[in-house]
Assembly symmetry: C2
Homo-oligomer: 193 residues x 2
DNA sequence: TGTTGAACTAAACGGACCGTTTCGTTATGT
DNA sequence: ACATAACGAAACGGTCCGTTTAGTTCAACA
């Protein structure tokens, strides 16, 4: 593809931003191209023109690398709507999220992270205690606002949020992210009652 | 553990039930012991005293083997309650299901199957078109009955079912299957409105 | 100015699995 | 009697893991 043969030597006793960028770019590119199934540190290193030890130095396991390459754009890419009703907000946000997952390789990152969490305790911990809280903070705002508007009681915020999250996971994990899924709006209706 | 050195030779031009049983038993045992992370066909073959080609002959991929070792007891183990309200039925069934997943190695089978579906197209197809329809048939009955009782409209049956499924997946995949999860009944309430 | 130390890549390591092939054996069905 | 098919053992080539060794490049510091 690109002219890759240029080798990056050390730039001294500090982390090389070029190497970091090259690794992330290669990882994202590889995921977009082959999906999680074809994803390996070995191949990332090859494409990035980086040494495996370098990768292992900065990202001790796959989960950390996934988290690093996810998240970069998500917050920017998906605005949190505020259209006056949870129903409208959820509908828009869910559609945006699914489109993002379909088109941005981020869906594959996400699927990979969940899969990885089934084989690695570190990945599971990272998923539960780092990734999820971080990533759920902004969609949670929609539920908080709805409760403030009186659409439901404040104690229900996190329960409703979790039901919505489970719904999304089910779809991403079974590879059903078509935006026009007819039952989408029906399910969101149910979540807003 | 047990006296394993007895070798099962071929019993002629037909499938050996002993081998089949030994493979399933070894697979279940291995999953119970090490979880999905430590699960490999290689190790199953070792423990079962079986040849890898034999395993690959009868179960062309891991997903098929998972499906075979799941399901054996689930229907028997989890009765579908009929207590007059979806709320009561779901509460009981979900608690039973989570206990089953916690205690029976079946949870690990299930997690493994979902993880496998993220790396293998065959596994994904098996999950979507074989495992899920089969396994969801009996819990679905609870929702059908509730609709018949007039708790909600019949068109909502599968949407509510899917929300419930997503909720369960989220918990099994993040390793949160404690029976007394306080939010469990609150979420089930939400699903019944 | 010279030395120390950390970050870099390349190469190779032992080990685990994958999925397949080859082989000799065993018993069935015809 | 003979083709057929399933069996286990062993080994194949291959991929990837996570680590180690070795030689380099450069910044910081004395």
């Amino acid at each position: 593809m690109e002219p890759k043969p240029k080798r990056r030597a050390s730039i001294g006793a500090r982390r090389s931003p070029e190497t970091e960028a090259a690794v992330k770019a290669a990882a994202r590119e590889l995921l977009a191209e082959k999906g999680y199934a074809g994803f390996s540190i070995e191949e990332v290193a090859r494409r990035a023109g980086a040494g495996k030890p370098t990768i292992y130095r900065w990202w001790p396991n796959k989960a950390e690398l996934f988290i690093a390459i996810y998240g970069v754009e998500k917050d920017a890419a998906i605005p949190v709507p505020d259209e006056g009703s949870l129903r409208a907000d959820l509908l828009r946000y869910t559609r945006d999220l699914w489109r993002f997952w379909r088109e941005d390789a981020a869906g594959r990152v996400f699927r990979g992270l969940i899969a990885e969490a089934q084989t690695s305790a570190e990945a599971l911990a990272a998923l539960r205690f780092k990734f999820m809280p971080e990533r759920l903070a902004s969609p949670r705002r929609m539920f908080v606002r709805a409760a403030e508007r009186g659409e439901f009681s404040p104690e229900e915020i996190d329960d409703r949020l979790e039901l919505w999250v489970g719904f999304n996971w089910l779809h991403v994990l079974t590879d059903r992210l078509s935006e026009d899924e007819p039952s989408l709006s029906r399910k969101i209706d149910l979540l807003c009652r």
